[in-house]
């Protein structure tokens, strides 16, 4: 519980209507997109200006109150859960697109802008922001930057950090800083901008961002490739790329997921396939046609049993809708789901998939595979039930081994979700003690009183 004087001060800073303290409201800010990380804050504040955020941070720093920044709360790492209570600083009311600059292909936005709102506004100008986390309907730009989010289009376009030119941020001590700038090239001093990106809200609050944009490609084409062996599908991914085609998306769905999607909403996926890959090419129409032909040729050579090029937007949209339904299909079938986001070098995808199959047998648990195969970022999901101790125990062991294997294959334990609370027990598997120590020192430099999203990343 915070002192009444602090609540009063917060109300003075952001206005009474922008401070929530009712038990019900606090419960509604105790969770994020994960299933098991729950903790209530003592107060939720909705600042509307950078100066207000600075004032909040100064107050919190003086009183040593934990502050957890939060946008749409769609993250899946526990990152926006206020693990030590205190203040949830919610940016959802700072949701203005300040400028769309067609000349320079940039946009200036507030942190609470929802990605889909941005996408719709940019589309009117013929532009787009390439990073496409699949939580785009609720995810806000501040959170997307803080988590360095990625999505299917990363195969060709890369992740968020490649599209952030600069940010304005408030440090835990209340100072307002500008990192990066508005230019594509910038080598002035240490690249502090990229320390902030993917810092998971532990270094400060992003209050404004300068985004790099692309023109919308005039054509797109979707191809569904059917495999009788999921590992072969994994191979198909890197065969296409090594043979010179870079689609903007390559997504994988395994047999189990295909069948659950078909149960939920029949859309003509091949139910007996062991896996399908969905390719999308984008660019100028002639190139897209050529690339699609080439994909067909390559995948047939490397073990595909069927290739279906979507003949129109309707068919293409149906396939992508199916892909988006994938997670719901998984979550709807189990009380508890470990949705991993291990990422391996693309050539190792078949190895990782085979390992998942082996572990499913070894521990007698359902492990399903879907994900952004194109960038090696798979989402093996383990279906379990936290109330069934014995089963849950086996699932935990299987997850442990998947992460072990991913790291052994030269991959990482998280490709896009972040560490947050969910993956902190694995951090030491990936990073040397000296590296973790450096990170902690950086954290201390930004946040001497450890008030900024405490309890995250490190155990």
């Amino acid at each position: 519980m915070l002192k009444e004087s602090i609540i009063n001060e917060l109300q003075r800073i952001v206005g009474k209507e922008n401070v929530l303290t009712s038990p019900e409201a606090l419960k509604a800010y105790s969770y994020d997109g994960t299933t098991s990380w729950i903790h209530e804050p003592d107060v939720v504040v909705f600042p509307t200006t950078t100066q207000q955020i600075s004032d909040i941070m100064k107050l919190a720093n003086k009183e040593k109150i934990p502050v957890t920044p939060r946008g749409g709360g769609t993250n899946v790492s526990g990152g926006s859960v206020p693990w030590f209570g205190g203040i949830v600083l919610c940016t959802t009311k700072m949701n203005k697109i300040l400028k769309i600059d067609k000349e320079n292909l940039t946009a200036t936005v507030e942190p609470g802008v929802v990605l889909q709102d941005l996408t719709l506004a940019l589309a009117k100008e013929g532009l787009f922001f390439p990073p496409d986390p699949q939580s785009f309907l609720g995810a806000t730009i501040g959170g997307i930057i803080a988590e360095n989010a990625g999505g299917p289009a990363c195969v060709k376009y890369g992740v968020t950090k490649q599209y952030i030119l600069g940010i304005e941020a408030v440090l835990p001590t209340g100072e307002i800083v500008n990192l990066g700038g508005r230019t594509l090239k910038n080598v002035v001093g240490y690249d502090l901008l990229h320390i902030f990106i993917s810092s998971e809200g532990t270094l400060g609050v992003i209050t404004r961002a300068e985004l790099k944009l692309n023109p919308i490609p005039p054509a797109k084409k979707t191809t569904m490739v059917v495999y009788a062996d999921v590992a072969k599908a994994g191979e198909g991914v890197f065969r296409v790329l090594e043979n010179g085609v870079i689609p903007d998306k390559i997504e994988l769905l395994d047999n189990w997921v295909i069948n659950r999607i078909e149960e939920m909403m029949p859309m003509g996926l091949p139910k007996d396939a062991d896996a399908v890959l969905l390719f999308e090419c984008d660019g100028i129409p002639e190139a897209v046609d050529k690339e699609t032909e080439k994909i067909t040729e390559i995948v047939k050579k490397y073990g595909a049993v069927d290739v279906r090029v979507a003949k129109d937007m309707d068919e293409a949209n149906r396939y992508w809708l199916a892909r988006r339904a994938g997670f719901a299909a998984v979550f709807g079938k189990a009380k508890t789901v470990f949705a991993e986001d291990v990422t391996v070098p693309r050539g190792k995808i078949p190895d990782l998939i085979n390992k998942c199959k082996e572990l499913a047998k070894k521990y007698n648990v359902e492990i399903v595979v879907l994900g952004h195969a194109g960038d090696g970022n798979l989402h093996p999901a383990i279906l379990t039930d936290i109330t069934n101790q014995e089963h849950y125990g086996r699932a935990v062991k299987a997850m442990d081994e998947i992460i072990e294997e991913a790291v052994a294959l030269g991959g990482v334990l998280s490709g896009e979700h972040g560490i947050g609370l969910e993956k902190q027990k694995f951090l030491k598997r990936q990073l040397d003690p000296v590296v973790i120590d450096m990170m902690k020192k950086i954290k201390a430099l930004f946040d001497p009183n450890n008030i900024m999203n405490p309890g995250k990343i490190w155990e």
Binding site: S22, E24, A25, A28, Y31, T74, V114, A328, G332
Partner: protein, 422 residues
């Protein structure tokens, strides 16, 4: 331990939510307030806690679950197919059961609206006070809403001089004197009865012109939307029984009100308290047709053979999807087919045609400011079309659309689709 019976019935639906938060994008209330308690995910989470006994039935909880339009935009877009409407309605019912309705609602629902005749008299009484209000062309829907909305700057519509119930005969034979092709029961609905009687007469004329016999049982009651969606299941069930009884002699029941048709169909979804009730409500559901689906799907009317009324010739029309048609009943193609088929009328689709108008029954009474903000988005869509007329098929939407068109000083007139045709 508090009673949890109604909430327990929907536990399976509440459990579907995987907390992805996608609902925030579709929720008209969240889009205005941007606070987690406004959106389905937050409401559902609190309902789940209540089921577990970890959340009491506080006034604040009542406020939170009350602040939902039940527009179902989140439901149709939910990747996990969470039926949040069921959870919200059940939570309201539990709230009412455990805490009771407030005085105004209590009086309005149990004493006035449940008694058709008393409701009629009450509306008349209200009519006497009309001179206090700005004169408009609009019409009002439910009396409690009407009384509460006073002083909020709403354009209060006029109450009909004579109610439909006092004008209609029990049976209308086909106009050509031949044997009827079909026999249907006409469910009037409060708005048509007390505010839009001419729409009811229009309906009867439309049907009897096309060889259909129309029966109008006098014992029919309010559909119960404003009542059971607010959580008063007890009165809701009573009305359900009254209507089932009133229409026991017909196989098809048609109404020109989108909210009524969906409400009558959905007794089986929200209200059953035992298997017998469920069976009766399900049987009743099979009889219900909204006028839009009845005209296109049952009568098989060819829209191109319908005749546009002279006053609409050369006009441009746009269609507003009532929530209770587009999402509760998936009725969206039928009205568009009619509008596009009508010769002499130009049809333009508005952006976000399926966006809730912001009415949400009693929602607009308790949260009139929010209603206006949500309606403003609808108005922007209408403005973008440059249409002369806004057409819909729900008198509830019509009231709110008229109010907001007038407040925004827009030139558009609002009509029920049936009013356009001869």
């Amino acid at each position: 331990m508090e009673d949890l019976k109604e909430l327990k019935k929907v536990e399976q639906y509440a459990d579907q939510c995987m907390k992805c938060g996608f609902c925030s994008f579709f929720c008209p209330v969240y889009q205005e307030e941007r606070v987690e308690t406004s959106v389905a995910r937050g409401k559902n989470y609190l309902a789940k806690l209540a089921i577990k006994g970890e959340q009491k039935f506080t006034d604040e909880l009542g406020e939170i679950i009350g602040k939902c339009l039940l527009c179902k935009r989140c439901v149709v877009n939910c990747p996990a197919k969470t039926q949040i409407d069921r959870v919200v309605v059940a939570a309201r019912a539990q709230m009412v059961k455990n805490k009771g309705l407030g005085f105004i609602k209590n009086f309005a629902f149990r004493k006035v609206m449940a008694n058709r005749k008393a409701f009629g008299n009450y509306v008349r009484l209200a009519k006497a006070f009309q001179w206090l209000l700005p004169k408009t062309e609009g019409k009002i829907r439910h009396l409690p809403d009407f009384l509460k909305a006073l002083g909020q700057g709403r354009n209060i519509p006029e109450i009909a001089k004579t109610f439909l119930r006092d004008m209609v005969k029990p049976v209308y034979k086909p106009q050509d004197g031949k044997a009827p092709k079909m026999r249907v029961g006409f469910f009037m609905g409060c708005a048509t009865d007390f505010v839009y009687p001419e729409l009811g007469l229009k309906f009867i004329d439309f049907m009897t012109k096309r060889g259909i016999e129309v029966v109008v049982p006098q014992e029919q009651s309010c559909c119960g939307a404003a009542i059971y969606f607010s959580g008063d299941f007890e009165t809701g069930r009573m009305l359900a029984e009254k209507n089932i009884e009133a229409f026991k002699d017909v196989d098809i029941i048609v109404t020109a009100c989108g909210t009524c048709s969906s409400t009558l169909k959905d007794y089986q979804k929200y209200l059953p308290d035992n298997p017998d009730q469920e069976k009766r409500y399900k049987e009743f559901e099979k009889k219900i047709k909204d006028s839009m689906e009845f005209i296109i799907d049952v009568m098989k009317v060819n829209p191109e053979e319908l005749k546009l009324k002279k006053e609409f010739e050369g006009k441009t029309a746009t269609w507003h999807d009532p929530c209770h048609l587009v999402r509760y009943q998936n009725i969206q193609a039928q009205p568009r087919a009619i509008l596009k088929g009508l010769k002499g009328l130009k049809y333009v689709e508005m952006p976000n045609a399926d966006l809730c108008c912001g009415m949400g029954g009693s929602f607009s009474v308790y949260h009139y400011d929010l209603t206006k903000k949500i309606a403003a988005k609808k108005m922007n869509g209408i403005k973008a079309t440059g249409a002369d007329i806004v057409v819909t098929a729900c008198p509830g939407c019509m009231i709110n659309l008229i109010d907001n068109v007038l407040q925004n000083k827009m030139p558009q007139k609002v009509y029920h689709l049936l009013e356009l045709v001869e």
